[in-house]
Symmetry: D2
Subunit: 144 residues, 4 copies
C-alpha cells in the first residue's frame, strides 16, 4: 500500500493543563493525514471530490491507542496508508512516531459519500472508483 508521511510540531495551543497534547488534536491530525495521503497518491481530494460528485469522506468508525504522551516542541512523524478497501468504505491507518517510538496508532473507517440523487440535501454512500483504489495501493514513489 501507499504510505504517506507528514510531520507535526506540537504547539502550545495543542496542549492542555497537564502539559500534554489534548487528545482531540490527534484526530484533527488524522484527518489532515488522510487528506495528505490522497494528495500523495496524486488525487487531491478537492479536485477528486468535484470530479466524482463526492462531498466528503466522513468517518463511521474510529479506533485509537494513545501509547506515549507528547508535549510542546515535540515533533511527530505520521505514517498513513489504507489498510483495507470495502465497497464504499475504506480503513485508513495512522501511526504517529516520536523518534523511534510509536506514540499514537489509529484506524479510521471512512465512507465515500455523495449527494443522494433523489434528495440533494441528503448524503449517500457510493462505490469507491477503481482509479482511487489503484492510486492509493501502489508503492510510494512509483509511477502514478
Amino acid at each position: 500500500m501507499l504510505v504517506s508521511e507528514k510531520r507535526f510540531l506540537v504547539e502550545w495551543g495543542d496542549c492542555d493543563p497537564a502539559n500534554i497534547v489534548f487528545y482531540p488534536r490527534y484526530l484533527k491530525w488524522f484527518d489532515a493525514c488522510t487528506t495528505g495521503l490522497f494528495a500523495e497518491a496524486g488525487i487531491p481530494t478537492a479536485a477528486l471530490f468535484k470530479r466524482h460528485g463526492v462531498i466528503g469522506i466522513p468517518l463511521v468508525d474510529l479506533k485509537v491507542r494513545f501509547l506515549v504522551p507528547s508535549t510542546v516542541g515535540d515533533v511527530l512523524l505520521a505514517r498513513s496508508g489504507v489498510l483495507e478497501w470495502r465497497k464504499s468504505s475504506f480503513l485508513v491507518q495512522h501511526r504517529f512516531f516520536k523518534g523511534d517510538i510509536l506514540a499514537v496508532e489509529g484506524v479510521e473507517t471512512r465512507v465515500w459519500t455523495g449527494c443522494d440523487p433523489s434528495n440533494p440535501e441528503h448524503m449517500k454512500s457510493r462505490p469507491i472508483p477503481a482509479e482511487v483504489i489503484r492510486s492509493l495501493s501502489r508503492p510510494r514513489g512509483s509511477q502514478a
Copy 2:
C-alpha cells in the same frame, strides 16, 4: 440594541499549559455568540441565510482586549449586541464577564455575504436587509 446572553463553562480542553484559556477559544465563542444573537432576534442564521441567499457573515476586522484570564471550571457570561450598522457590514460587540468582572471584550466587523451572481464560486458583500437590522435593534424581550 438587542443584547443576547450566553454562558460558557471553561473546559479542560479550552486551557493551555499555563492553565488559562488558550485565547483562540474566545474567538470561537465570539462566533457562537453572534449566532446566538441572531437566534435571539428570532432570525436563526441558517434559515435567514437560505432566504436571503447569504452564505455567511465573514469577519473583516477584529479587536479584542483580554483583561482577566480564566481557567478550568470558570463560568463566563457573554453579552453580545450590534454596536453599529453600515451598508453591508456591521459591528458586533462581545463582553465576557467572570462574575462582576469584565474579562474579555471584543468587536467583530462582519460582512453580509452572498454568492457573486456573475460568478457563483466567488463571494460578494450585499446590503443588509432592513428586517435584519430591525430585529437586531429592538430591546430584548420586546415584540418581534
Copy 3:
C-alpha cells in the same frame, strides 16, 4: 452506574465544508462529558486532582462509532457513565442522541495519573481511590 447528561448546540465553527460536524469536535465534547460526569458525582476534577495528587486522566484507548451526522443548529444530548473499573484505569461510555436517534457512541479508556514520585517531571498511573469509584457508581440523584 451514575449517568450524567450534557447538551451541545452544534455551532457553525463545529462544522466542516460538507456542512456536518468535523469529527474531532465530538472528542472534545467527550472530554467535557467526562469532566461533567465527575462534577455530577460531586467530585469536581480540579479539586479531586489536587487532593489526590493527580495531574490528569489521560486517554489510552478510544473507540467511536459515528452513526448519524449532525449539522449547524442541531442539539445533541450526551449521556455518559463509567462502564468498567480496573485497577488504575476506567472505561467511560458516551452516547450522543439527536432526538431519539443514537448519533455517536464511544468508549474512552482513561488512566488515573499522578506525578512519578521518583521523577516529578514524569507521569505515572495510580490506583483509583475507592471513594471515586463509589461516587461514580451510585444511581443519579441518590444520596452522595
Copy 4:
C-alpha cells in the same frame, strides 16, 4: 527586526460550511507563529520560560484585519516579527500571504508573565530580559 516565516496548509478541518477558514483558526496560527519567532531567535520558549521563571506570554490585546478568505488546499506564508517593545509587554505583528496577496494581518500585545512571588497561584507581569529583546531585534540569519 527579526522576521520569522512559517507556512500553513489550510486543511479541511480548518474550514467552515462557507468553505473558508473558520477565523479563530488564524489566531491559533498566530500563536504558533509567535512560538516560531522565538525559536528562530534561538530562544525556544519552553527553555526560556524555565530559565526566567516565566509561565507564558499571554495576550492582552489583539487587532486583526481579514482581507482575503482562504480555503482547503491554500498555502499561507506567515511573516512575524516584534513591532514594539515595552517594559513588560511587546507587540507581535503577523502577516499572512496567499501568493503575493496579503490575506490576514494582525498585531498581538503579549505580556511577559511569571508567577507572583507572593502568591505562586497567581500570575504577574515581569520586565522583559534584555537578551530576549536583543535576540528578537537582530536581522534574520545574523550571528546570534
